[in-house]
């Protein structure tokens, strides 16, 4: 049993590629948790996708034994956090398990929007933030400038910032010493009723749900009957243990400690991240603060390009959910795309990761509709309905108002791009908030902006207008009423659901023009003229026409051609049977897919 005064619980906060995983590896090595020989690069990132994209999706945790220069032995618990704001709730729960955070900033790239977002979360959570500048061995490193940026964000003095190279190990020992000195020890009541925070969980095929927990008060003993306060469920503590990083069962976790808990529960959504568990026999009165249900922010229809894959898609989603309780979906039927699912995601990155995993790990070929957000519609009877799919938006006559989610967007940019960004944000209905200089060359811009604009094409436009130098992060803000309309795309007077979109009235004409133009180029000519229209309610806002085919006949059909031509035309007919019928218009699914995919390229 370790005295709480010798425990330090901390996270590392860093932008993608600023070296978080490398630093974690170095810490493991320095504390002897993993021998150099066993060292696999970036040991904490276990999923292929994580390693490839340089991001951490599921938090992991590890206990390190460290003898400090003062001669005392310390138990350091490194609690890994997802690096992206899509997972800000998960980040906040991980941070809630810590007393301190290492803020790691790349010596060349400097502070990025994500760094900021997570640093603010850490500060808000009352954590002791220890800044460090990484990659000082790089030729392009400019640690003095970066130190200035950091102090502009979190205060303090540039001289106090540790400069390290996680790659070479330079400065890492000093950082460990800082950690022991500056991060406060846990201060829970070791003798009170048990309160432990579930700050993460994952699904193991053999063990079921494995929870990561931080004991705040009391003691979590193997064999306890546990009560989960938010869900109200009780489960036995079948196994309690620590990660060193290999799994090591222990009899109990004491106040201030971090470890894992296995209860035998198989369904990941029965145990909620952020929940407080307590002793069912001697329950604590109040849960730990901060619990929330994961809330999808971005929605997209996912359809298998081959209709036969519908069941496979369902199974794949279910498998993904074993490890991702935030993934939610409902079945959706589209006239254009067939059977699929409307899937809710925490954010754009989450969406991309899920799509990529579905395609890569489950070998599915998918079409995704343009991402949308959840609108809140006030109905005439005063009730509020949440709309996750544009098709569900009631007609103007059947609603009082529509409001949309806003986010607080933080953009960090070299000063030279401030003009183009302000222009962009204005066209995206953003409202300027604070503007603060991190250094003479770099500035942080704060905006309130509709999430719908962010998910539409804001990222791409920001990237292209700032040559990739600006970084963006956002967090949910409030809902605001706006003049929103539903634009339908009609093919020969029949609406094509996959292209319906909820947009601000000012953007409707552009959308209509783009989509009708795009479809005109993709829909094959028919036996008759096919009008493609964009409409708001009954009002047509743009129109294109796919002109009727004029010639569809083979030149010759003589005695020698009969069998061959018959076969050729039968084959063509079979091809047509695979087309989707929109009214009497035959459209190859590829046309719809292409119309939806163009967004990916712009």
């Amino acid at each position: 049993m370790t005295n709480q005064s010798r425990i330090r619980n901390f996270s590392i906060i860093a932008h993608i590629d600023h070296g978080k995983s490398t630093l974690a590896d170095r810490l493991l090595e320095l504390t002897g948790a993993v021998s150099e020989r066993d060292m696999r690069e970036q040991i904490l990132d276990t999923m292929d996708l994580e390693r490839e994209r340089g991001i951490t999706i599921k938090a992991q945790t590890v206990r390190l034994a460290y003898r400090a220069d003062n001669g005392h032995d310390y138990e350091l618990n490194l609690i890994d956090t997802p690096g992206h704001v899509d997972f800000s709730y998960e980040v906040s729960r991980s941070l809630a398990a810590c007393e301190g955070a290492l803020l790691l900033v790349d010596a060349a790239q400097g502070v990025q929007a994500q760094t900021l977002a997570n640093a603010y979360l850490a500060v808000d959570a009352g954590l002791e933030v220890i800044p460090a500048i990484n990659k000082i061995d790089l030729v392009a490193a400019d640690p003095d400038r970066v130190a200035g940026e950091i102090t502009n964000v979190i205060g303090g003095s540039s001289d106090d910032i540790v400069r390290i190279s996680a790659k070479t190990g330079a400065g890492v020992s000093e950082l460990l010493e800082r950690l022991v000195e500056q991060v406060p020890a846990p201060s829970g009541d070791p003798d009170g009723p048990l309160r432990a925070l579930v700050f993460d969980s994952y699904y193991d095929a053999y063990r079921g749900v494995v929870c990561y927990v931080r004991v705040v008060d009391g003691r979590l003993r193997s064999g306890f009957r546990l009560k989960f306060i938010a869900t109200g469920e009780t489960h036995d503590a079948a196994e309690v243990g620590i990660l060193t990083p290999s799994v090591k069962p222990v009899g109990a976790l004491e106040a201030g400690e971090v470890g894992y808990l296995i209860t035998g529960v198989k369904e990941i959504d029965r145990i909620k991240v952020g929940d407080t568990l307590t002793d069912a026999a001697n329950p604590a009165r109040d849960p730990l603060p901060g619990y929330a249900e994961p809330k999808p922010m971005v929605f997209s229809g996912l359809f298998p390009t081959d209709g036969d894959d519908f069941e496979r898609l369902r199974e794949a989603l279910e498998k993904l959910r074993l490890n991702d309780g935030s993934l939610m979906w409902e079945a959706e039927t589209s006239r254009a795309l067939g059977f699929g699912f409307r899937v809710g995601f925490l954010g754009l990155l989450h969406m991309e990761i899920v799509r990529e995993r579905l395609e890569r790990e489950y070998d599915l070929d998918l079409v995704a509709t343009a991402p949308s957000v959840a609108y809140r519609v006030t109905l005439p009877d005063g009730s509020i309905r949440e709309i996750k799919s544009p098709q569900d938006l009631p007609d103007p006559g059947s609603r009082i108002s529509v409001s949309e989610p806003y986010v607080r967007a933080m953009i960090l940019t070299p000063t030279e791009y401030v003009g183009p960004i302000m222009e962009l944000v204005t066209t995206k209905r953003g409202e300027m908030g604070n503007m603060s200089y991190l250094s003479p060359e770099r500035v942080e811009l704060d905006y309130q902006i509709p999430l719908a604009e962010i998910v539409f094409d804001f990222f791409d436009l920001l990237k292209s207008r700032t040559k990739g130098y600006a970084s963006l992060d956002y967090e949910p803000a409030d809902y605001r009423t706006a003049d929103l309309v539903k634009v339908d795309i009609l093919l020969n007077a029949q609406p094509v659901d996959a292209f319906s979109a909820v947009l601000h009235r000012d953007k409707a004409a552009d959308y209509g023009k783009t989509m009708t133009g795009r479809l005109r180029g993709l829909i094959p000519r028919q036996m008759f003229d096919v009008p493609i229209q964009a409409a708001i309610g009954g009002k047509i806002i743009s129109r294109e026409t796919v002109k009727a085919k004029r010639k569809d006949v083979i030149a010759k059909c003589y005695g020698g051609d009969v069998t061959r031509k018959k076969k050729l035309l039968t084959k063509q007919k079979e091809g047509k049977k695979r087309m989707k019928m929109v009214g009497s218009v035959e459209v190859p699914q590829e046309a719809f897919v292409a119309a939806l995919r163009v967004d990916d390229d712009t």
């Binding site: 004029r550 010639k551 003589y558 051609d561 009969v562 018959k566």
Partner: protein, 389 residues
């Protein structure tokens, strides 16, 4: 027009002559150039194939196609005709037709062909524009056309047809108009107009894939419509998608095919329809000859047309005719489908006077696709199917 379906009871025969002086870049038929040393052996093989086949009916129409039948010395073609006459019999008024290239047609050849028994000649004119002729890889020039048709007429051919190809990317509207006028000025009995088609495996397809201009279907539609306007003014009535004739001068061999009549066929790659089976010969020249020389019939494949397919087949071969097809269970079924309804609504087909007709010939393939997909109407049984055979 006269009842086109009477041709269902006529007997026709096709003879394939694969030899050419050069292969045109758009051609995907069973043809061969530079193989003149094999002509004699081939003629022997065709003769042998005729003798291997069951004696059939007295022929009402014989059609020598190719390749280039006129590339072969007339007496060899005459020999085949003589064997056909001895084996099956040829009716006195039979149409005996051959395809010819203008450059092959000397006065002497014209006389010999007439003497061999031919009474109809179909010239591969293609265009009166030398630029287009060159692009099509043709060996003749506009000036050759007039003289060869003249020779045929003077020798005594009373039934002369010319083939034209439209929609070559190099062809202008004016060029096509003058080709049509050039053809009309020959006072032909029959004109065929074909849209240039990029067939798989042809040099033309390779060119197009390499970036050469491809025929534009809308331009081809314009060209076709011009033919539809000009040819009738010269007394030539359209009786099939690509064929116009003076009334009574329609190609009888083809009328038999389109009326779902039976036709025998000889030569490499030749197709026949006999006893409700559509079958075809070995396509490769040497393989064909080897086969026949071993005393075997050179049939490479056969598709029996049975049950409901007989009705589908009747519509398939018949619908390209202006006169269309007589109504029956297939037509009944077609107009019940949503596709058939669309065709009616768009004026692409019409049912009138007990017949189903394609009113917009340029869209015939869509009609065909719908037809090929038809199911028998409710309560259909095979015995109720009108049997033309």
């Amino acid at each position: 027009m006269a009842n086109v379906d009477v041709h269902a009871s006529k007997a026709a025969t096709y003879v394939h002559i694969p030899f050419c002086s050069a292969v045109c870049p758009y051609c995907d038929f069973a043809v061969v150039a530079g193989a003149d040393d094999r002509i004699d052996r081939y003629i022997d093989a065709v003769v042998a194939e005729i003798e291997l086949s069951d004696p059939w009916r007295v022929l009402d129409a014989v059609y020598f196609g190719g390749g280039t039948p006129s590339h072969v010395r007339p007496h060899l073609l005459g020999r085949i005709l003589a064997v056909l006459r001895a084996h099956h019999g040829i009716a006195n008024e039979a149409e005996i037709s051959l395809e010819a290239n203008p450059e092959d047609f000397s006065e002497e050849r014209a006389d010999e062909l007439l003497g061999a028994g031919f009474n109809r000649v179909s010239f591969g004119v293609q265009s009166f524009d030398d630029v287009v002729l060159a692009r099509l890889g043709r060996r003749h020039r506009a000036v050759d056309i007039v003289s060869s048709v003249d020779k045929a007429r003077r020798a005594g051919f009373t039934n002369v047809s010319v083939d034209l190809i439209f929609g070559t990317p190099e062809e202008s509207e004016k060029s096509w108009a003058s080709s049509l006028q050039g053809a009309i000025d020959l006072r032909p009995d029959h004109v065929s107009c074909y849209a240039l088609t990029v067939e798989p495996g042809t040099p033309l397809q390779r060119d197009v894939r390499a970036g050469a201009a491809a025929p534009d279907p809308d331009v081809q539609a314009d060209r076709y419509e011009l033919a539809e306007r000009l040819l009738p003014m010269a007394g030539l009535e359209r009786y099939e998608v690509s064929n116009w004739a003076r009334p009574g001068q329609e190609c009888r061999y083809n009328l038999v095919v389109w009326a779902q009549g039976e036709y025998e066929a000889y030569g490499n790659g030749a197709h026949r329809f006999l006893n409700r089976v559509r079958s075809h010969n070995v396509r490769r020249l040497d393989a064909y000859m080897d086969r026949v020389e071993s005393g075997l019939r050179p049939i490479a494949g056969a598709d029996p047309i049975e049950g409901w397919d007989v009705e589908i087949d009747r519509l398939f071969v018949g619908l390209r005719r202006s006169a269309g097809v007589g109504t029956g269970p297939g037509v009944e079924s077609l107009i019940e489908t949503s596709g058939g309804q669309m065709l009616l609504r768009e004026g692409i087909i019409e049912v009138a006077g007990g017949r189903l007709m394609v009113r917009r010939p340029l869209l015939t393939d869509e009609v065909h696709r719908q037809v090929l997909d038809l199911d028998p109407p409710q309560g259909w049984v095979e015995s109720t199917n009108p049997d033309n055979l």
